[in-house]
C-alpha cells in the first residue's frame, strides 16, 4: 500500500499548492467563461446550418465536447508546470534524495494535473445543468444524458492532457517553448485523427463518436442535411432544427471501455516518461560545455596529507578597482538596445540562424505573394521563443532584483527589450518588407509594420502580466494558425490575407500594439514600485 500512499501524498501536496495560488482562480474563471460561452451560443455545436433542441442529451454532449476540446488545448498549458515548479523551488532536489521512485512521483503529478483539470470540468458540468434550466427549450431532465458525456468523454481526455503535459516535462527538449508550440499542432492533429484515419478508436476527444451517433437522427430531422459537424465560435447563422431529436450516445460496454482505455493510455504514457525523466539530476540537463570544463580540473589524490614545513602566505591577486570616471554612467540608449538584442538571440544554435537566414533569402527570391504570404508567416513563427522571453526572462531566471534595483529601467531597459523584439521581427521579415517597398505597395508595407510591432507588443504584455512565456506561446500559435496560415481576414496580422481592408486592419493592429505596450509599461511600473 505504501506506493499508493506516496502517490496520494504527492498528488495532494501538489494540488493544494496549485489551488492556493491566485492563478487557479483565473483558471476557474476561464472554465466559467467557457460555460457562459456555451450557454449563450458564443460556442455552438452544429450539423450543417442547424443545431438540435437543447435537451439534456444535446447540452451534455455539447458542453462536454466544449470542455474536451478547449480544455485539452488550454489546460495543457495550465498544468504543464508540475515538475518545473519542483525544479524552480528546488523541492525536487529534496525529493530526489528520498526513496521516492520516478513512477510514484510522476503518477502523483499526473493525479494532481488531472484533479486541476477535473475541477474545471466540474464547473462546466454545473454550467450545463444551469444552461438547460435557463434555455428552457426542453424541461425534462435526464441526469444520465447530461452528466455521462463528462464522465466518458471529458475526463478521459483530461487524463490524456494531464499525461501529455507531464510527458512533455519529462523530455528535456519539450520542457520549454518548443514543447508549447508543438502541443498546438499535436492537439490539432489529435482532433482530426479519427476523421483522417477513419478509425473511431483513435478519437481522444470523442467528437467523432458524437458525430457518428448524431448522424441517423440528423438525416431524419434536419431538412436537406448531407454532412457537416463542428464546434463553432461566434457564428450567428446557426438555426434550431425543431424536428431533430437526438437521445444521446448509447453507452454500450464497448464504447465505455473504449473511452476508459484513454485513461490507461494516459497512465502508460506517464510510465514511459519515467525513462526520460532526469529525477532532478542537474548533471543530466547541464550543458555539455559545462561538463567539459569541469573535467579539466584535476583532483588531488585522496588520502594524502599535505606536507609543509612553514606556513605560506596566500598568493594574492590584485584587488585594485579603478574608480569610474564622472561621465561613465551616461551611455547612449543604443548600448542597452544592443545588449538586449544580444541577450534575446543568445543561446540559439547555428541551425536556428541558418533557417532564419534561409527564410529571409527566400523572401527576396520568391514571387511577392509568396514572400509576404506563406514565407513571411513561417519567418514570423520561427523566432517565437525569442519573443516569448520578452517580459518573462527576469522572472524565469530570477534576475528581477538585480535589474529592478538599477536606475532608469522603465525609460531605458523596458523600451530596449521591446525594440529588440521589433528588430527581430523586422530582420526576419525584412525580405517581404523590401519587396513590398520596391513594388510600391505602401498599404502592404504598413500592414507589415503593424505586424512587426504587434507581435513583440503582444509578447511583452502577456509576459509582463503573466510572468510566464506559455500564454504567448499558446495564444500566438493559435492566432498564427488561424490568421497567417489559414489566411482568415482580420486575424492575419501580417496583412497578406486582408485584401482591400488591409489598411484598416493595419491601423487596428497598430492600435492594439499601442494598448498592449501601454499595459506592459503600466504593469512593469507597478513591479518597479514593489506593488
Amino acid at each position: 500500500m505504501r506506493p499508493l500512499r506516496v502517490v496520494y501524498a504527492m498528488a495532494r501536496a501538489d494540488f493544494l499548492e496549485r489551488v492556493r495560488r491566485y492563478s487557479y482562480l483565473v483558471t476557474l474563471l476561464f472554465a466559467v467563461y467557457l460555460g457562459y460561452a456555451a450557454g449563450t451560443g458564443i460556442i455552438s455545436l452544429r450539423l450543417g446550418d442547424y443545431r438540435g433542441v437543447y435537451t439534456s442529451a444535446w447540452i451534455g454532449a455539447m458542453v462536454s465536447l466544449v470542455a474536451t476540446t478547449f480544455l485539452s488545448l488550454v489546460g495543457f498549458y495550465i498544468v504543464k508546470n508540475a515538475v518545473d515548479r519542483d525544479r524552480q523551488t528546488r523541492v525536487g532536489e529534496i525529493l530526489a534524495a528520498t526513496p521516492l521512485t520516478k513512477s510514484s512521483y510522476l503518477l502523483g503529478k499526473l493525479l494532481s494535473n488531472f484533479a486541476v483539470l477535473a475541477s474545471m470540468v466540474a464547473v462546466l458540468a454545473v454550467a450545463a445543468v444551469a444552461m438547460q434550466i435557463l434555455a428552457a427549450e426542453d424541461r425534462t431532465f435526464h441526469i444520465g444524458a447530461l452528466i455521462l458525456p463528462f464522465l466518458f468523454f471529458t475526463l478521459p481526455a483530461m487524463a490524456l492532457t494531464a499525461a501529455m503535459a507531464l510527458l512533455f516535462e519529462a523530455f528535456r527538449f519539450l520542457r520549454g517553448g518548443f514543447g508549447n508550440v508543438l502541443w498546438f499542432f499535436l492537439w490539432s492533429f489529435g482532433i482530426a485523427l479519427p476523421a483522417v484515419t477513419n478509425h473511431p478508436q483513435l478519437d481522444p476527444s470523442g467528437l467523432w463518436m458524437v458525430y457518428q451517433s448524431m448522424l441517423p437522427a440528423a438525416h431524419a430531422g434536419i431538412p436537406g442535411y448531407k454532412e457537416g459537424f463542428s464546434l463553432t465560435i461566434a457564428d450567428k447563422s446557426v438555426r434550431v432544427a425543431t424536428g431533430f431529436h437526438w437521445n444521446g450516445v448509447e453507452w454500450t460496454p464497448e464504447i465505455v471501455i473504449l473511452r476508459l482505455a484513454w485513461i490507461a493510455v494516459a497512465i502508460s504514457l506517464v510510465l514511459c516518461g519515467t525513462w526520460f525523466f532526469d529525477r532532478f539530476d542537474p548533471a543530466r540537463s547541464r550543458q555539455k560545455s559545462g561538463a567539459r570544463s569541469r573535467r579539466k580540473g584535476a583532483a588531488a589524490p585522496a588520502g594524502v596529507a599535505p606536507e609543509f614545513s612553514t606556513v605560506q602566505a596566500p598568493i594574492v591577486t590584485s584587488t585594485h578597482l579603478t574608480p569610474l570616471a564622472t561621465g561613465a554612467r551616461h551611455s547612449g540608449s543604443w548600448r542597452i538596445l544592443v545588449a538586449e538584442l544580444r541577450l534575446a538571440l543568445k543561446g540559439y544554435r547555428w541551425w536556428w540562424y541558418a533557417v532564419a537566414g534561409g527564410l529571409l533569402i527566400a523572401q527576396f527570391a520568391a514571387p511577392l505573394d509568396v514572400a509576404r504570404g506563406p514565407l513571411l508567416a513561417v519567418a514570423w513563427l520561427w523566432p517565437i521563443l525569442v519573443w516569448s522571453a520578452l517580459g518573462t526572462r527576469e522572472a524565469r531566471f530570477g534576475t528581477e532584483q538585480l535589474l529592478f534595483s538599477c536606475a532608469r529601467i522603465l525609460p531605458r531597459q523596458f523600451p530596449a527589450a521591446w525594440m529588440a523584439g521589433i528588430l527581430v521581427a523586422a530582420l526576419t521579415g525584412l525580405g517581404a518588407a523590401v519587396r513590398l517597398a520596391l513594388a510600391g505597395q505602401s498599404i502592404g508595407l504598413l500592414a507589415w509594420a503593424a505586424g512587426a510591432l504587434f507581435i513583440p507588443s503582444l509578447a511583452l504584455a502577456l509576459g509582463v502580466w503573466s510572468g510566464t512565456s506559455k500564454f504567448f506561446e499558446g495564444l500566438y500559435v493559435a492566432l498564427w494558425y488561424v490568421g497567417p496560415l489559414h489566411r482568415v481576414p482580420g486575424i492575419d496580422f501580417t496583412g497578406s490575407a486582408n485584401g482591400p481592408q488591409a489598411g484598416r486592419y493595419a491601423l487596428f493592429y497598430l492600435g492594439v500594439a499601442a494598448i498592449l505596450v501601454g499595459a506592459a509599461f503600466f504593469r512593469r511600473a507597478r513591479q518597479l514600485r514593489g506593488a
Binding site: S289, T317, L321, G530
Partner: protein, 298 residues
C-alpha cells in the same frame, strides 16, 4: 553621503510584521547587520535597494526620499540579493556587459571595469564560460562583481559569503574592508565572524526591530568580564545549557570545553575569557528575548 532610515515598517499580507519602526542613520563605513533568521534583515535590504516599499516610514538618501525618487539612489547603488538568478546561456563577461549596459555605463568604462572585477573575484579564467555550468560559489562571485559594476556609493550585500569557500570568504572580507573608505557598505548576515572581520558599525535586529546600534567595541563592552570557560564531562553539558547561555563547545581529551556567557562564574573552576562578538551577539539576543517574554507576560 548619508542614508537615513526613519521609522520604517513593513507588514506583509496576513498582517505579518517584518519590520516595526526601524530607525537608523548611516555614513561611510561598513555596517554589519546581524540578526537571527526571520528578523527582517532581507526585508530591510530590499527596501533599501528600492525593490520593496515600506508600509510606513521613509528612507532618505542624501536627503531625498527614495520612494519618490528611487533613481537618485539606484544610480549609485550596488546590490547583491540573498537569492538571485543568472542567464545560463551568457558567459560571466557577457552577463556583466549586459548589466553594465542596463546600469548605463559607457562601453569603454564597462570593459575596463569588468576586466578588473573578474580578476578581483577570481573568475578571469572562467570569464568566457556559460554561467549555466558555474558552481554556486562561482555564481555568488559573479553576483559580487555585478554589485560593484557601477562603483557604487551604497553597497548592499545580503548574505554575500553564502556558498563561498574559506579562501574566497577571506578574499571577500578583505575586499569589503578596502571598499569601505568612501562609501556606505551594508553587510547583512548571520555569520558573526564575517561582521567581526570587517564591520566598523554593528546593528542588531530581531523581530523587525533595531535592538542595538553601535561600534563593535561598545557591543563587546557589554559582556566584558562575563565570558567563562568551563571544562566538564560531556554528560553534564545538558545541565549546564539549562541554566546558562553556552555560546560554543569543543570536545577535548579532558572533557567538553564550554564557553559560557554569565554575570558570575558558572562553576568555581571557571576561567575568564576575552569576549568575542559572537558572545556579545548571543547575550544581547538572549536579553532581548527575556525582555520581550516579560513584556508579553505583563
Amino acid at each position: 553621503m548619508k542614508l537615513e532610515i526613519e521609522n520604517v515598517s513593513k507588514t506583509y499580507r496576513g498582517n505579518v510584521a517584518a519590520l516595526r519602526g526601524f530607525r537608523l542613520e548611516l555614513g561611510p563605513g561598513v555596517l554589519g547587520l546581524l540578526g537571527p533568521n526571520g528578523a527582517g534583515k532581507s526585508t530591510l535590504m530590499r527596501i533599501l535597494a528600492t525593490i520593496t516599499q515600506p508600509t510606513a516610514g521613509r528612507v532618505l538618501w542624501n536627503g531625498t526620499d527614495i520612494k519618490h525618487a528611487p533613481d537618485a539612489l539606484r544610480t549609485v547603488l550596488g546590490y547583491l540579493p540573498q537569492d538571485f538568478g543568472i542567464y545560463p546561456n551568457l558567459s560571466a563577461a557577457e552577463f556583466l556587459e549586459y548589466l553594465a549596459a542596463v546600469k548605463g555605463l559607457d562601453a569603454a568604462s564597462a570593459r575596463k571595469r569588468i576586466g578588473e572585477l573578474l580578476e578581483l573575484v577570481n573568475l578571469a579564467d572562467a570569464a568566457r564560460r556559460p554561467l549555466g555550468g558555474f558552481s554556486g560559489g562561482m555564481r555568488q562571485r559573479v553576483g559580487i562583481a555585478q554589485a560593484l559594476l557601477n562603483d557604487p556609493q551604497l553597497l548592499i550585500v545580503d548574505e554575500p559569503t553564502a556558498g563561498l569557500d574559506p579562501e574566497e570568504r577571506v578574499r571577500f572580507r578583505n575586499l569589503l574592508s578596502e571598499l569601505s573608505g568612501e562609501r556606505i557598505v551594508i553587510l547583512s548576515t548571520h555569520i558573526v565572524s564575517d561582521v567581526e572581520a570587517v564591520a566598523t558599525d554593528i546593528a542588531l535586529i530581531a523581530q523587525g526591530q533595531l535592538i542595538v546600534h553601535g561600534a563593535p567595541e561598545a557591543l563587546l563592552a557589554g559582556v566584558n568580564g562575563k565570558v567563562w570557560e568551563v571544562v566538564i564531562p560531556s554528560g553534564e553539558l545538558p545541565a549546564l545549557r539549562q541554566g546558562h547561555l553556552v555560546s560554543s563547545t569543543a570536545h577535548r581529551n579532558d572533557g567538553v570545553h564550554a564557553r559560557v556567557v554569565a554575570d558570575a562564574p558558572p562553576r568555581p573552576d571557571a576561567r575568564q575569557l576575552e569576549p568575542s562578538l559572537e558572545d556579545a551577539y548571543l547575550a544581547t539576543l538572549a536579553a532581548h528575548r527575556h525582555a520581550a517574554a516579560a513584556e508579553a507576560a505583563v
